[in-house]
């Protein structure tokens, strides 16, 4: 916590108090979190790779084409795990390993939809579904629009 320098200097009691707070506030377990995110994120991608290969072989698609149904499958799994209440339990260990892959995108959509379900299907589920995931779409589209425009005007 940074303090305004113009304010009065800390009294001895306040100093001891803030030292105590700093000691007691839990620090994130950086190394543990990083390893868990790596392992969980890697495993999610391996599952995604498995579905990509599965669709590639069973529907005779190219690797790029097979990526689409694989992403849809992962979104389905993320949505299902969220609905069953299991996603948060796994994400407690996996952290960013679960929220960065598309499973996390699905989780944010379903979590918002469920949270606002009691406000009704239209104003609750329908409107609030993208409350968290909306920013990802907005910033993605804005980025793609700017890059596409630069490409269309200056490079083509």
């Amino acid at each position: 916590m940074s303090r305004d320098p113009k304010k009065k200097p800390l009294t001895v009691d306040q100093k001891r108090y803030s030292e105590l707070v700093n000691e007691l506030v839990p620090k994130p377990l950086y190394l543990r979190n990083a390893i868990m995110a790596f392992v969980f994120g890697g495993v999610v991608c391996i599952i995604g790779q498995f579905f990509t290969d599965l669709y590639k072989i069973s529907f005779k698609l190219s690797s790029t084409e097979a990526g689409n149904p694989a992403v849809a499958t992962m979104i389905f799994l993320g949505a299902l795990l969220t609905g069953l209440g299991l996603f948060d339990k796994i994400a407690r260990y996996g952290g960013a390993g679960l929220s960065v892959p598309v499973t996390g995108f699905a989780n944010s959509v379903v979590a918002s939809a469920l949270e606002f379900k009691r406000e009704g299907l239209v104003f609750g589920v329908g409107s609030k579904m993208f409350m968290l995931a909306g920013s990802v779409i907005t910033f993605g589209v804005v980025t793609a629009f700017v890059i596409g425009l630069i490409y269309a005007i200056f490079i083509l």
């Binding site: 994120g41 999610v44 990509t52 992403v71 390993g97 589920v125 968290l132 993605g140």
Partner: protein, 119 residues
């Protein structure tokens, strides 16, 4: 389908997630900030043609993280721009990402109908 593909998917996918976890732990950014930044980063790498190279190396390790959403948006806009000029940027935007968004809406809606929030 070789084991090397799976190893690369694990390593690259895991590495992307670690970067996000470290940003979350060491800064005050929320997951929403980090995911938005990853989509923007994926879009920029896609515009430079670098993200496709990563996909070639890592397969699902690059297509599963949310950054591939930005890449797919940019690629759709650029591919259609090649055919239809500036208008193509608008019409091609969701050409490749339609799967992800449609799946998220459909499965999200159905899940919300079937399940109830806890507590």
């Amino acid at each position: 389908m070789e084991w090397q593909t799976y190893m690369m998917a694990f390593l690259v996918g895991g590495a992307i997630c670690v970067v996000a976890q470290l940003i979350l732990d060491f800064t005050n950014f929320t997951p929403g900030h980090v995911l938005s930044a990853f989509v923007v980063a994926g879009g920029i790498l896609g515009g430079l043609g670098l993200y496709d190279k990563l996909v070639q190396i890592a397969g699902a390790g690059a297509t599963m993280p949310i950054s591939s959403f930005g890449n797919a948006l940019v690629k759709g806009a650029m591919a259609e721009a090649e055919r239809n000029g500036v208008i193509g940027v608008l019409t091609g935007m969701f050409e490749l990402t339609s799967t992800g968004i449609t799946a998220a809406i459909i499965f999200g809606f159905l899940t919300a109908l079937v399940f109830n929030p806890e507590g």
